[in-house]
Symmetry: C2
Subunit: 152 residues, 2 copies
DNA sequence: CGCCTTACTGCAACTCGTCGCAGTTGCATC
DNA sequence: GATGCAACTGCGACGAGTTGCAGTAAGGCG
């Protein structure tokens, strides 16, 4: 089991209190989902999470997993963006707002951090009077390697 | 029936020849799907298209509609991007590469044209060595009106 | 410790979209 | 106009994700 680099243990521990503070409940199912998320680095889709939960407990049901993801997103514990196919991908680390750059050819993915995106966000604010949510952003394109491979 | 401003009639008419040129066939089902698309301005999802086709012919089946959309995209007749929920949205007008700006609060949508996006594309080319496909781009955010309404 | 409220779970049914397969039919050729 | 190939259609089953509902259980309170 690779250790969770995403959030440190203490931070995951606060989820229980955050739930309680909102009148929500700490259940075995939620505890298990959190456990799987804590062991996840980077991104995970709903169905991947469901699958991993089922390895620990085959009785896990889809609706509970998807509803828990919604709750955790409301708490700010996770966030989602969309992959190239439009599928939701959840980020386990809300450490910093960031977007994604995904290559349509090879599927390689890189992050865009807030600093890099700032000039772009400013541009849209100025030209379109529009605030961009970087978190939700996935840009499709072609990476350098695929460009070289395809077009010489 | 609002006239199709998207492509002029002549352009739609070439689809049949484009299909034939690739060894593909002109079928009543495809003819009807094209007819519905020709009467569509802007964007449409697969299920919306299916629904409209069923109004003309209740026997229309999902697989034919979705497969035809793929074919038409291959021909360059339509293109898709993803809405905020990740659902595919097809653009009927391939007149110009463009992206979208969608407000998470009110759903309002604006287009980003190639000229506006050019500096951004250049930036990613330079900093990440990555070519962005503007067509596929949908930026989530908050429009001026919603910002004003929510945050004074 | 037991009660009570209500958030939560699990089920079943549903939507959207995809895929393999068998039967159909466009269309090129004779 | 008939023939034959293979692209296409429609079917049925499936996977991902959502929702309403009835039953379960978290956890606050006495």
């Amino acid at each position: 089991m690779t250790a969770a680099r995403s959030r440190d243990r203490a931070t995951w521990g606060t989820v229980r209190e955050e739930l309680r503070a909102r009148g929500m409940r700490w259940t075995p199912q939620r505890r298990q989902i959190l456990q799987v998320l804590a062991a996840t680095d980077g991104h995970i889709t709903g169905s991947e999470l469901l699958e991993r939960c089922r390895k620990l407990d085959p009785a896990t049901t889809p609706s509970t997993v998807y509803r828990t993801l919604d709750v955790l997103e409301e708490l700010g514990v996770i966030r989602h963006s969309h992959g190239l196919d439009g599928r939701e991908e959840f980020h386990v680390q809300p450490v910093a707002e960031h977007g994604h750059l995904v290559c349509s050819s090879c599927g390689a993915s890189r992050e865009i951090d807030a600093a890099q995106a700032a000039p772009i966000a400013r541009a849209f604010r100025r030209t379109h009077d529009f605030d961009i949510f970087l978190d939700h952003l996935t840009l499709a394109g072609r990476c350098a390697a695929c460009r070289a491979a395809q077009a010489g």
